[in-house]
């Protein structure tokens, strides 16, 4: 790569030099990214060994729980571009299905989890098939109506056919049979790894979808539905598929929640508060991106927990006010979510580090 100017044979041309250093930079950046990722993975896997307090572990489990829920929500709220505001109803379907099946019929919660997922998909189809082809507001309203309607029903009936739902008193799960087969553990650590595993699965799924035909179709349908249709995209069908995936995976978390807290009742599982919290976190973090919902959960859940601990008595509901205000501000100033500026800052930091290494290497 030598030039032919006056300073020929011994020196590279400017362009060649820039190419080489750009390449070097990219390699260093990639290495830095990989190292950081590796460090995070190791930290996350080793966390239970580092934290002995079960309270803190509990809080972290819940953070991952919400990160899972928001990523799951993102499939429909981000990729499909619609606004599900009643998503907790699928959480409830999952929780109640596996709990009722295990309490009344002794069916393993793992199997119940899967069945709950399928039921959630069915429910999601009932709402989604008609409304996903309409204006966004109608879909949002339908999800709220469905969620509230179901909650009212569950709160007021003892039995749904042969299944005991116990109305507002809810269902308690006695911690009897411990072990993996029964999804029941005495320490919080296995729960930590389960939710971590679920989170990794949903993140991988989201990444895979974003790179697949479904992902491309959803993005296209979201940006320019008419153009997408002319290119062979059945936009409604893509949205419905996204909805089905989202409902299924959200329901799985319902079973997790039931097995983790050992008590479910309508207000704790099918509540509008939870639905909104999921949506808000995903929106603030940045819907449509893969990191956004997780970032949102990592940032906002601690805020909510802390404000509940410190302000809970004097100012009840403060954390919700904070959510609401942050949401409004983010929507006005950073509609793509906080992941955008955060990603930029991260890039800048990595660039600086890369420059630092290269300069050091040159010496």
């Amino acid at each position: 790569m030598t030039g032919t100017g006056e300073n020929s044979a011994l020196y590279e041309t400017d362009a060649a030099f820039l190419d080489r250093s750009a390449l070097a930079r990219q390699v260093v950046k990639d290495t830095i990214n990989k190292v950081l990722l590796g460090a995070v993975v190791i930290l996350v896997l080793a966390l239970p060994a580092l934290i002995s307090s079960p309270t803190w572990l509990h809080i972290i489990v819940l953070i991952f729980f919400y990160a899972y829920l928001t990523t799951s929500w993102n499939m429909v709220g981000g990729f499909a571009g619609v606004l599900p505001l009643g998503h907790a109803v699928f959480l409830g379907i999952g929780a109640y299905t596996s709990t009722v099946l295990s309490l009344q019929y002794g069916i393993s919660p793992w199997l119940g989890m899967f069945i709950g997922g399928l039921l959630a998909v069915a429910a999601g189809m009932v709402i989604g098939l008609p409304t996903l082809k309409m204006r966004g507001a109608y879909f949002a309203l339908a999800t709220i109506a469905f969620a509230e309607g179901l909650r009212v029903m569950v709160e007021n009936i003892e039995y749904l056919g042969p299944f005991k739902l116990n109305g507002p008193r809810g269902l308690q799960i006695p911690p009897l049979n411990i072990g993996w087969a029964n999804f029941m553990f005495s320490s919080k650590v296995p729960y930590y790894y389960i939710i971590l595993g679920l989170l990794l699965i949903i993140l991988l799924l989201t990444w895979a979808v974003s790179r697949s035909k479904l992902g491309y179709y959803l993005t296209a349908g979201g940006e320019e539905p008419e153009a997408a249709q002319a290119l062979g995209v059945n936009v409604s069908r893509a949205k419905v598929i996204a909805m089905a995936l989202s409902c299924f995976f959200t329901a799985l978390a319902g079973t997790f929640y039931a097995q983790f807290s050992l008590f479910i009742h309508p207000k704790s599982t099918i509540s509008l508060d939870i639905s909104f919290e999921i949506a808000f976190i995903a929106l603030i973090g940045g819907r449509g991106s893969i990191a956004g919902p997780v970032l949102g959960a990592l940032l906002l859940r601690p805020v909510s927990d802390l404000s509940r601990i410190y302000f809970g008595d004097i100012l009840p509901g403060m954390h919700l006010v904070i959510y609401g205000v942050v949401l409004i501000l983010v929507m006005i100033y950073q509609p793509r979510g906080l992941q955008e500026p955060l990603t930029r800052i991260y890039d800048r930091v990595v660039n600086r580090m890369a420059d630092g290494f290269i300069k050091g290497g040159d010496k």
């Binding site: 966004g136 403060m318 949401l327 929507m331």
Partner: protein, 295 residues
């Protein structure tokens, strides 16, 4: 049988009031093409405003209109101006401003919980006043007086709003803006000012509804949630953007709620209302009187 008639009549009265509560929502949608998810919360705020006005002044509940209506108009005007307008501007060319839904939901959340923080969760009802609990007897039928007043107010307000939009200059300007933003602005109409006014108007109408409710309905921080969802059900039934639709949709819901418990538990009645909503959504989303929209 007598009870059925009584229930039906009270249902119609209560339903008209429901319609009045939904009227603000339909006005805002009709003009801004925006579904205001903060609607219920604005009703709740209005109810607190009405409650405190009456409690502190000792006036007749309906005199509170003098204060509540202008206050809510201003509140709505500036809510639109400060919080929603920036989103409108950012999403000018988007077919469906979905971020507005998100923001109004945020407003709902903030106001509901702020109210909870400031006023506490207790249910409040007006101390004894000239309307509360009074009944008129027509033979064997008892008709609730506050509901009667409310129903009359509802119809009067609906008519006044209708007249405003059809006959007055400002009203027509607002309608022009809703049909085609750019064309309207070219004829010298400041579209953002129009939106502010429309939002203010919708909120003021909600204020009127609150005044009619406060004499007989409890005021508490989450009262908005119930009316929010009911409001949506009503406007979908009657057709988003239709003024007679709001009143008639309200009456339908009111009658179901009133007559329903005769035949089934109150819970199932509520479930039926939700079910009816979903049914209308699936079968005829433009509602009974709604304008056909491009989906």
């Amino acid at each position: 049988m007598i009870y059925l008639i009584e229930d039906t009549i009270n249902g119609i009265l209560m339903g008209s009031i429901y319609g009045l509560t939904a009227l603000g929502l339909t006005i805002i949608f009709g003009v801004l093409k925006v579904v205001n998810f903060a609607h219920g919360t604005l009703l709740m705020v209005s109810m607190y405003a009405a409650y405190w006005t009456v409690t502190l002044s000792g006036f007749h509940p309906y005199l509170a209109l003098i204060i509540v209506v202008p206050v809510m108009y201003v509140f709505g005007y500036y809510l639109q101006d400060i919080v929603i307008k920036p989103i409108f501007k950012a999403e000018k060319n988007v077919r469906e401003p979905s971020t507005v839904i998100i923001v109004t939901t945020g407003v709902w959340y903030v106001l509901d919980n702020l109210t909870l923080m400031i006023f506490g969760p207790q249910y409040r009802s007006l101390p004894d006043n000239s309307l509360q609990g009074k009944m008129i007897e027509l033979g064997d039928i008892f008709i609730s007086v506050p509901k009667l007043w409310g129903a009359v107010t509802a119809v009067a307000t609906a008519y006044a709003v209708y007249y405003f939009f059809q006959k007055t200059r400002t009203g027509r300007a607002i309608r022009a803006c809703s049909l085609d933003r750019d064309a309207a602005s070219l004829s010298g109409i400041n579209q953002y000012k129009i939106y502010n006014m429309a939002f203010g108007l919708g909120t003021a109408v909600t204020g009127i509804a609150a005044v009619t409710l406060v004499p007989f309905y409890n005021t508490f921080p989450s009262v908005g949630v119930l009316f929010d969802i009911k409001g949506f059900i009503i406007v979908v039934l009657g057709g988003l953007g239709s003024i007679p639709g709001a009143i008639i949709g309200g009456i339908i819901v009111g009658v179901i709620e009133s007559v329903g418990p005769q035949f089934m538990t109150a819970t199932w009645t509520e479930a039926i209302v939700y079910g009816l909503f979903l049914l209308v959504l699936f079968v005829k989303p433009s509602g009974l009187f709604g304008v056909k929209y491009d989906w």
